[in-house]
Amino acid sequence: MTPVTEPPLGEIDDEGERRALERSWRRRPGIAGWFTVTTHQALGKRYIVTAFVFLLIGGVEALFMRLQLARPDNPLIGPDKYNQLFTTHGTTMMFLFAVPMMEGMGVYLVPLMLGTRNVAFPRLNAFGYWMFLFGGIFLYAGFLTNTGPDAGWFAYTPLSGPQFSPGKRVDIWAQMITFTEISALCVATELIATILKMRAPGMSLTRIPMFCWSMLVQSFMVVFAMPAVMVASNIFLLLDRTVGTHFSNAAEGGDPLLYQHVFWFFGHPEVYIIFIPALGMVSSIVETHTRRAIFGYPAMVLSLVSTGFIGFGLWVHHMFATGLPQIGEAYFTAASMMIAVASGVQIFCWIATMWSGRVHMRTPMYFVLGFVFIFVLGGLTGVMLAAIPLDLQVHDTFFVVAHFHYVLIGGALFPLFGAFYHWFPKFTGRMMNDALGKINFWILFVGFNLTFFPMHILGLKGMTRRIYTYPAEMGWGPANALATVGACIILIGGIVFIANALASRVHGEIAGPDPWDGGTLEWAADSPPRNYNFVNLPVATSRYPMWTPPEERVVVTGVRHDRREALVTTLMDAEPPIWPFITALLLGLGLVGATFRFSWYYPAFGATGIGLIGWFWPRRPEGVRS
């Protein structure tokens, strides 16, 4: 496919451009460079590595819980520590691993796939990363000083309210949400602006790569869902606890149930915020490893978008056991079943793509197939849980625990591992070991099913979640022991993955820009990409520009190389700035202080205002190079 008007042949001073770009996009050396970096590759990598560290921490917490539950009447961990463990595990996995990991992949890959130089707001990107990091440190500072939150990862009132949870534990949880939420909103905003306004010339809506579509839908969901958790955690919960408002106090007209409504109005879309980018990753992997354009692109995009919309109409199915009016429950049952249609369309499209393409069975495809298998199982129990009679029976049991681990690990973690193997050559310039990758897949797949499948049965037998032990007469011992064995196998799988990644980083086969013969633009950049991504910005001549014959490809000229500039965008500041870091630090200190005294908000907002003024102060007249 060629553009309507044939672009002329032009002379390009390739080497000169490259030298000038290297100079403009150079990082500051040393410590200062570490705190002032604003390139999307560096920040994306930081997001990914930091979130991975939190995955490991959350995984170790899960392992401790499994060890505690391995046999009846186990004295290993007491009830109080166990409460902190499951709360911190859930909080870490949702807020410090899954969302930031998806955001990190988006920050790294979206500008490359769109053929531009950076995200729309590089400094906001840096600010978001620092907020995320400080929030994680804050939570674990609490956990390590025996002040870890202990009211569950959704902190239902009245249990989490001032009356039943004195002390600072729940305050730390509520304020940690603020940190991670600011971070997610920053990334969502910059990705929306990037995807809407900074695509390569020629990249019409029908040519946007599937992963970018998924990040766009996910970002819009973040924009409209995250304010709800701000209302729930930061306004209802934290204000009730610190200054004595009455949002959840039934004695003064408040209503604890409203907290659940508002929390799940965020919490259910949150599942899709995690899951939708994973769908985009699966599409990217499938089309690359089958060497075929994705089957049913419009249907895929439409089902992503409709998942985004329907995702907001499901929240009450978390609350079927609260005694809501039947008409409402019926509506939410129907909506919960409807979302299976949108997911089903995508599964069928992937199967059709694989069927009609030439599947290359490398490690990423193994993880994709594992994802399809596990996610379909999780989806089936999801349809079961959407039926109110069954939901009432198994509510708050291990059946639900099994269901959401099948959906989240199957639906997000397996695609994510596939994505690591798929884009590792882009991140580091080297291939990951394929044989070890397949071993890694099988260990994780077996370990996962061994851990979580028995939980379905445990739930049906009546084992409720969040209990720290159980008597032997219940007969839950063998299945629990099996699940603990599975958890240890998952640990081995994790170790194999880390070993593979670390070894491949140093000794892996050199990848080159395009090791998989991929079709989208990230494969046009060097591996790892230079700070400016492309010497000449590419033009998207088709949906798969890299599958266009080289002589028909077009590049952009005339974008300035003497300072940081991208197309259809503002100038990116030439000076890597320290202000995002300072602003995040000041706001972070204020938010931490406010969990102890509300009045910390005043100096915090004042200081943040000063930070922002420093951030936005116009530094030099335009057109003059400093």
Binding site: P227, I235, F247, E552, T557, T570
Partner: protein, 205 residues
């Protein structure tokens, strides 16, 4: 030197003071975020309202409407200042930008001071009951947003006085006006909810 098919964009301007700029879109996203939050708070207000027989609860006065109505008019008029400033920014007229921003700042500050006075005369606070908690939270959050934007407006005025009139400066003036429109626009339903809803929806005799 290599020869390739090229698309030359060197003729495009560095910055366009218009909705073409990503920062304008980013600002719209932030308005959506704030707007979503206020919509949820409105929903919560009526959720609480519907679960109680008396609203506001006994002993709580109905919030007076006179001064808040004047402040609403002030806020709407202050948008004229923002509009002038952003038109000045598009046409690169420093005088129009300065006058527009000053009008915006002056009326905005008057708006906040009068609101503060009306707020001070309420006979309930955030800890009185759930009605007080909700009304104080809505007022507090909107005041925080408005204060932040007026602070930003003041900074822009200072920068303009110091002679910064480059394209990125003008873009900032343009985007600042977008935020102020949003804050005034969202205040209209919030004003109706706080001051008129208790009078219309099952007011106590």
């Amino acid at each position: 030197m290599i020869r390739r098919r090229t698309l030359d964009v060197s003729g495009l301007p560095d910055i366009d003071v218009s909705s073409q700029e990503p920062i304008w879109w980013g600002q719209i996203c932030l308005c959506c975020i704030e707007g979503a939050m206020f919509c949820i708070l409105i929903a919560c207000y009526f959720y609480f309202r519907l679960s109680l027989d008396m609203w506001p609860p006994p002993g709580t006065q109905l919030p007076h409407v006179a001064i808040p109505t004047v402040t609403l008019i002030l806020a709407i008029v202050s948008c004229l200042g923002s509009y002038r400033a952003s038109e000045g920014a598009k046409k690169n007229e420093r005088g129009a930008m300065l006058r527009g921003l000053l009008l915006n700042l002056a009326l905005g500050c008057a708006f906040l001071i009068l609101r503060g006075y009306a707020w001070y005369t309420l006979n309930f606070n955030w800890a009185s009951d759930v009605h007080g908690s909700t009304v104080w939270t809505i007022l507090g959050l909107h005041t925080m947003d408005a204060t932040a934007d007026l602070l930003f407006t003041a900074v822009l005025i200072v920068a303009l006085i110091f002679g910064r009139t480059g394209r990125s400066m003008r873009l900032a003036v343009h985007v600042d006006s977008v935020v102020w429109y949003f804050l005034v626009l969202i205040w209209i339903p919030l004003y109706i909810v706080i001051y008129w809803a208790p009078r219309f929806v099952g007011a106590p005799a």
